[in-house]
Amino acid sequence: MQSENDHIINVENLQKTFYSIRGFWKREKHPVEAVQGISFSVRKGELFGIVGPNGAGKTTTVKMLSTLLLPTSGTATIFGLDVVKDTNLVRPRIGFTFGGNKGLYSRLSGLDNLKYFAELYKLEPDAITKRIKELLEVVGLTGREHDRVETYSSGMQQRLHLARALLHDPELIFLDEPTVGIDPVGAREIRQLVKDLVKRGKTVLLTSHYMYEVEELCDRIAVVNHGKVIALDTPAALKAQSSGDCVIAIQTPNGEQSLNGKLESLRQYLTQVHTSGDTLSLYTQTPSKILNELTPLLEQNVITNIEVRNATLEDVYVNIIKNNAA
């Protein structure tokens, strides 16, 4: 059984406000509240996910925890150390990567990048070569280490990022959207590397836009929107929130109004309705009743397609975000 002391990360009511300048003659500071009182904790050896729409505050949270940003208020401790006051003690014990192709010296080789960062992380000179060799094997870049980073694919660059973050063998690793912009094969390799890290006892905090990714990887997920945690649980528990809902996705090229009020008569059987483009997602526990009513519309071409499936984590996520917005 794990106790409070097993928590590697403790975040209490963390807030971050940025200020943007508006106006030319009369310049005014306009506050932008990126994070508005986030609280959560992460246990040792856990793979914790943060998901949320763009601008929800995921990256800002990760940057505060990785000591790159100072919180406006609230507290965050890592290994019991304050990320604001004990910066110099926290930094050698954490690793972090930010998604995309940034964060590497593209004109240098992968090997030179790793050597450089190994020096910044004060690795013993004798240990550097051995450690880099090990990591190149782990991330599958052996043989390409002498090539310039600018010749690497996005997946290779992301794997190099991961190797860079692991150089000093940190106990805690922050991965901000590690598979963004990577093809499915590359993304799968990254996910496998992340799983291996957890198997080796590392604690990982990961942010992502991909629900299948966090469902596959994470022990627990925090859903963040407008800088607040609006749901936090295991993927299974979050999915259970849909109470066994089934999703009927229908395509109506002429919009919802073409259903001639049919939807209103079905309201009593629907738990949620979401519209995205010409697709209506109907959440229900009695799909047969809905299908009986909608099938004739398919024949009349009012509906061009019907898809029935169990609610996925993505459906639950969309539900949570839309309900929060409402």
């Binding site: 940025f18 930094r91 995309g100 940034k102 964060g103 004109r107 240098l108 450089y116 020096e119 910044l120």
Partner: protein
């Protein structure tokens, strides 16, 4: 010195070398920066030479035309590299990795500034070579040991100023806009291009606040055939003293800079 501290010091040498190595490789792989190091001193030498000729001087002022152009090239290289390096780091997303590493940003920027000063030396030497090979100048009879000491002290001054300058692009993305306001005015204020005595009194006072003006006086003095030793010593001491003020001031400023950027979130290029 204890064995442990000696070991730690020696252990930092690869770090210093690796930092400088990265700097040199980035510089030589960056055509713009490489061009800057090579072409700036040549341009400054040529401009100085032709201006002096156009003015119809029979005897061209070696110190301000040739040495001054070389030092100006060095200053220019240091100024631009200090700003461009960090700007590139911000653009490439490596600045936040540098700041987030256990090595202080002061250490990183000091080593980079040192590498940039060495690159500035290349500019200086090129300028001299151009002056002698293209324009037929001969080195005046000076005192070589004094010249070497003056040069070393001047490099120290440049290094301290380089560390100070390198912190500004960390503070603000817009600091690069002021580059052109610094390059020539400092060149004039420090006496690289013409004697400071030609400037208005207030500018001469300002000039005394920069270590580079004292350093240049020292370097110029070492080329004189009859060296005024007490005056040379004053120049050296003033250079070292003001440079140290910059160095210590920048050291304390560095922590504030780190905290400031962690508040504003100016580390990335977004």
């Amino acid at each position: 010195m204890s064995t442990l501290s000696r070991t730690m010091r020696l252990n930092r040498l690869p770090f210093v070398w690796k930092q400088m190595n990265v700097q040199f490789r980035m510089r030589t792989l960056n055509l713009l920066a490489f061009g800057l190091t090579v072409t700036q001193p040549v341009i400054f030498s040529a401009v100085g030479y032709f201006l002096a000729r156009t003015a119809g001087r029979a005897q061209i002022d070696f110190i301000h035309t040739i040495i001054g152009s070389g030092v100006m090239g060095m200053w220019s290289t240091l100024l631009f590299t200090s700003f461009f390096d960090l700007r590139a780091d911000r653009r490439e997303g490596t600045l936040e990795l540098l700041v987030g590493s256990p090595t202080s940003i002061f250490s990183i920027l000091s080593i980079r500034a040192f590498a940039n000063v060495l690159l500035g030396c290349v500019s200086f030497l090129l300028s001299m070579i151009v002056a002698m090979s293209l324009f037929g100048f001969a080195l005046p009879h000076g005192n070589f040991p004094y010249f070497l000491v003056s040069l070393a002290i001047m490099l120290f001054g440049f290094w301290c100023i380089g560390i100070f300058l390198a912190h500004w692009p960390v503070v603000s993305r817009l600091s690069g806009l002021f580059l052109n306001y610094l390059e020539l005015p400092i060149g004039m204020l420090t006496g690289f291009m013409f004697p400071v005595s030609l400037l208005p009194a207030w500018a001469q006072w300002l000039s005394m606040l920069t270590p580079l003006s004292w350093a240049f006086k020292g370097l110029s003095a070492s080329f004189q055939s009859d060296i005024d030793l007490p005056s040379l010593w004053i120049n050296w001491m003033m250079t070292l003293g003001i440079s140290l003020v910059f160095l210590v001031g920048t050291f304390f400023m560095s922590k504030r800079v780190q905290d400031m950027i962690r508040v504003t979130g100016e580390l990335s290029s977004v």
